[in-house]
Symmetry: D3
Subunit: 325 residues, 6 copies
């Protein structure tokens, strides 16, 4: 059985079930380098619910993407990385804590098999479960976090500790993220409390607002990220509300005034020297996409760039496979 | 301050915040006969999530409705019933059990003040919380349940006991519904297990499938309902998926082949001799309504008919106010 | 130049500008029997505005229709009636009275040329302008009015006399409709005042509610309509909210519980012995149609049935052309 | 590997790739009784294009359906029929004739393995390819055709012989359908030519218009269908425009005035004594469905009823498997 | 009763009726500094009608916003400004002149109570009514006008003087705007007449096209605005078509090629030294927003920035309250 | 009969059938300089089908545009160019090769009459037919091609030579484009094969990726284009997926990371010294536009800029009319 995606010059993109980028579905985890996994949970979401439908929506638009990435030397990602789409973790809708447990179990199965999990959320609370799974093997990771919000509040409604607004405080408390090697990028917009940003700094994170991002420039920012995460296994989490709602309208908590798709992709394509042991793209809510489904397509494109980042490093470091092992 | 709705011949319906049927908002619970309350929880929902947005969506379309009901003798419902819209219960999204607790507290406040709660859901699990509140004052109630599903499964994913699929088994177990005076109407469609229907009969409910409903005829069915609930305080719960998806597309679990809007309203207008101590209309999910928002309008119309049922009995029984007290 | 519609077996329906049923556009009014005219005014509408876009939306879906009507003896309407689509009347948006004047002028031009105006509204106030134009030639007409509302209120917001809620009181006052030969069919739903229906009876109209319509049966109702309008030039006005919102969601003031499309068409196809001097289909608001645009298609189908009614009478009365002249 | 669908009480319906009714995907054709196959071609469509997206859209909504069918004795279809979802045939968009060839090849592979093909279209021209495949094994079949149009025109634009408007004339010419054992049900609406209906009669088909269907009654009609197809291998083709657009708006050529979902399902559930060797549900165009996706759900429900018809006969005729062999 | 907004960390944003930024509703005008008022009139609109639904649509999305503004020193706007949401002015749909009168009366009530009116339109003609109300107290104001059109035509259809295309000529004629202290920013796109821009210059306005805006730079432009309005009570009117349709698609007359949301917010956050006595955000038409409702959210965000501009000046000028008094 | 568009200050834009920019419809080809023609074919499209509906969708939004272009000296395009809208070419849906033939015939009729064809597609394969028609009169043209893809693959599914992915290889093979005077601008995104870009260079085209476009700057790029096409009759083809999907979501194969509307229009307005003998705007698919229809409006705006480019040259070269003749 081939591990190469279906060729869209031979079989139209609308033929057959849509896996991510038309990858084969997993029949076994043996020998894989990385895997796409859907995490269809939205129990952690405080406002627009529906991210449970995101994994299949992102897959459906990902069939637009082609395997060669011209921004990293025309590499064919799937020649370098043996990959499949393993489907979705099971979840318990309406039960946030139980859902996180199920997600963690599914991701642990990948990580323990030496596979880099590449997840499609789900609301942002799913990242906590992923980090638990990754850290169980790699120790506390360097978190590279793209978002318009810090998600480091202590609790949400009725004092609940687990939600889309709290994972990156929990992750520090659980010692699965090393905040001193971590960075949050893209914060903007109005605040609940005057310390919404400083609370992240207090936890040890580096924080780059959207305004600072543009003042810094993308090349310098990419270098700052690499330096921050240097020497550590790294996890990239990408909340789609990092991007301006004109390009990503279908998110739970849109925040006006973010970067365009071109600016976002430019930044991602400049990332380098990151020892990626896991990544996700979260907070797509397809119920709020228009018929063009541009948020889902952009989420798929972001994931494809993360895969290229992973593949490019593997290609340059033939023994790089057991990163962080 | 007037307790009469805004006159839509003087002030256009699009002016001002939309309360249910343009009722005044509550400033006090004193002296009220009944109240509209929103229960914006969808943590119990297994499939299409988003009923958290239903109360305001139903309110927005309810401004279409006028106060005189020609199907019950041209009564003006709001001349008979002192009513307000008390807004929404607070909930904890992603935490089903905590959400039900908060809802119960809000409804208890109404019931203990002698007010008939008229609720707009939320997923169907909210009815369990309402029944707890109502039964605390009135004892086990006769449940009149319109739905295409029985919602009497024992548990759902991972053995969870509380969800939109289980409230009417829980209600029997908690002795807040008297199944032998209760009836479920409208079941149809494919089944999970061969005993999906018989499990309700085993609990003591009377069950009328959609096919049997049409075979019986609406007048005979209305009489059967009245007889079933006779002598008991009654609670009507109306799941919008009772109706065919052509008229109510925006529900969590649509079931093809139900009655039309005209058939549904005809049945409701034939109901009589019911001692109503509470009611709800649930499972609207406005994210799935088209631009015409017909599901929200139909839900509002169903609630207006339940209010007319309540008002007509009050009008005919001047001392009927403290029903079941 | 041919006066026959484009053949959709030769030229796909999506080719070219969409006129009503692909009729030729008018280059002259000479020799025409009837004409489609759009009346794109919505200044009379109290709630959902946007009927200004209805004429072109109905035209766009009318390309689905074919010229042969099997319900009236397989007649080809356009073999019998010389017709064109004359485009739209000019209007003054936001200025109701001025808009009605412009519409009246446009319809007068048709009527005075002996052409039966077949109009696509617009909100229901446009019918007043049409009736003025028709009555100027034919005298007070028998009005056959399909609607869920009587539209015979005296005034609307701030005492304004001209709106979608008042035309059929104005028409009696202006002596352009003979209420004693007129009939209103389809009233249903909640009322503003207890006399919403009786005010029409007081004006002289016959009124048939939706419930009475079904109790009467369509054949008997068609006979009652014919008898009511006998001996008079007649005008049929069809408000799309006559139909249930499941089949016609895109209207200004939807009213739940109406007839289906099949029931509606069955009634229209039973109409007979009506001396039609004008007709319209009003209150489509395409902004509220879903992507299937079923309201616009149904409005086009209703108009096609009215054209067939007109054509069938012409075919049976070769000298019937100058009806009411 | 289990051949039973995923249990939606254990794993939420939104988890994982959506196959038809959550059936397993094919890994082999051995031992199967029937198979779902998508035929994503719309090159034969004269108006609203996009049926290429129908198979996956119908699958996505089919996860709502449960395996037990209470209308045929609470059978579990998948206990009786060994089934999988084999995915989609490959097609050549924009090349109608080549697409039909590819579809035929895919269906032949199933039929030759003794598997009953249960197809999700695609525009209606795909049925010609299916009939070719089925007839190659079973000889000319009895066609049971639900539709609002006869699709027996001789040619369409520019004299093309193959399109969604012509398959059932071609099928007679190619001797793959036996018209004298075949029946077309549901024709209605305006016609291109006065002989649109009689041309089918001339070919040998029995034709039942929508009006005649209601006049006959569903039980009598089901008996007439059984009698017509008696003794022959039968193929059921179901064009979604058979149903009224209020329940099935997302079709290529909607025709107002059809049966409701309830009426449609009632008729299908009454079908009996049919030796089914293949079936399809065609002409869903998900681009025209509203957010509720009711057309896709109804199409899935229709297919589920056809599967139950097939299963019920198998259950009653244990040796019935090699029907028509 | 608290004048602070509801805390969205305690009560989910979807709970309760949506006021602007979850502000309390007005129970009295006493002691208020500023107030949100909806002006739901669209009778002045020449093309896409429906802005009557804008105030509630903007409120619904404004619940996303939080009270702290990090762009003006982390001020909490509502600690500085005592504010409520007073609901909507009454209007007379279809009667432009009468609607403007009603709006003026509502705004006068605020202004005469010393309250800064912060209005959500409505089409752009509502600004004329607001300016009349503001000028009655403050005299001719400095107008700061963001828009892609000048709206200084003399008349529109049939010579009508009052419409969304004419208010800023009328305002000069009525001496309620001082054009020599006023500025129009953002003009772009094709023109009706060659003097569409110069007619504004002739009236005395300063005009900055979109191209000139980018050539000038936002900091210099903010200084130019401050200088232009120096020493005058100022009114900011913000037409959402100032922004590119990718970020604000739901407007009456979209004009391609405008600034992004980020550019727009950057400019607004640079405004300073403006003595604001009133402001509005107009021309949202929610019927044209996609499911993501990004236009409504952006309009709410723009208003929040105007409130922050007002609050920041108050904070810096403790006696600044009776500005222009 | 006037050849000037309808004045939208006198007649509202929603009145009457929508031609491009409200141009008169053609009654004769005599004396015309240029003409709008719709090419409603989508048989060449590999993914999202529906461009057959684009010409009328673009026309419907083009009524927003006004005749004066301030970016080229306030010229009135229609004072300089005698133009009409000639309607659509006939096509054969599902038959790509036959459709191209019909389109070629329609365009030849214009070109042979000395009229510059200004076409609204259709999928990108229609450009091949246009180029055949133009080259038949002018010889091989300089192609100026805006797109995110090169469309120079050799074949698509099943080896088919004619599709939206192949026209610019075919055009070189057919010697109707001179690649050495041609340029492709805007390529970006993932690739099928590593030589997707270099295959165009091998054919002789100049290729400018999106990244190179921004690195070059628009003024320099406009000069490079002019130099490339110097001395040759030129054809501009504009695929809407050149633009970022945030501004043009409704295309067949959206590609994230493109220029904004403002950047795109800036580049087009800088074009100069081009001897335009034909142009098109293709790949709008209105089924994927949101309710704001911004893709259709942007496509209309792009075409208006191309008309201005044509008109400005004519104005500066009074004898420029018979360009390339």
């Amino acid at each position: 059985m081939s591990l190469l995606p279906i060729d869209s010059l031979e079989t139209p993109r609308f033929c057959g079930l849509a896996t991510f980028m038309r990858l084969p579905q997993a029949t076994s985890l043996a020998g894989l380098d990385a895997a796409i996994i859907g995490l269809p949970s939205d129990s952690g979401g405080p406002f627009r619910t529906g991210a449970r439908f995101a994994p299949n929506a992102v897959r459906a638009m990902s069939v637009m993407l082609r395997p060669i990435n011209p921004y990293r030397g025309n590499i064919n990602v799937f020649d370098i990385l043996k990959m499949t789409d393993v489907g979705d973790a099971n979840v318990v809708p309406g039960y946030e804590i139980e859902s996180l447990q199920r997600i963690e179990e599914s991701v642990v199965a990948l990580v323990q098999a030496g596979i880099v999990p590449c997840a499609i959320g789900g609301d942002h609370s799913v990242t906590l479960a992923e980090l638990r799974a990754v850290a169980a093997r790699h120790g506390p990771v360097a978190l590279i976090h793209f978002d318009s919000h810090t998600d480091t509040w202590d609790s949400y409604f009725a004092g609940q500790k687990y939600s889309a607004g709290t994972p990156f405080r929990r992750a520090v408390e659980e010692n699965i993220v090393d905040p001193h090697h971590s960075i949050q990028i893209g914060m903007r917009g109005s605040l609940f409390r005057a310390d919404d940003i400083s609370q992240s700094l207090d936890l040890g994170y580096d924080v780059v607002t959207t305004d600072e991002m543009f003042a810094t420039g993308f090349e310098a920012l990419a270098a700052r990220i690499a330096k921050r995460a240097a020497g550590k296994p790294a996890f990239i989490t990408f909340d789609m509300d990092f991007i301006d709602p004109s390009a990503a309208p279908a998110v739970q908590t849109p925040e006006m005034g973010g970067p365009t798709a071109r600016e976002t992709l430019t930044l991602l394509r400049l990332l380098h020297d990151i020892n990626l042991v896991g990544c996700d793209v979260v907070e797509v809510n397809p119920l709020y996409d228009g018929p063009g489904q541009i948020t889902a397509l952009l989420a798929a494109t972001v994931m494809a760039e993360l895969l290229a980042l992973l593949a490019a490093r593997r290609a340059s470091q033939p023994d790089g496979r057991h990163v962080g092992a």
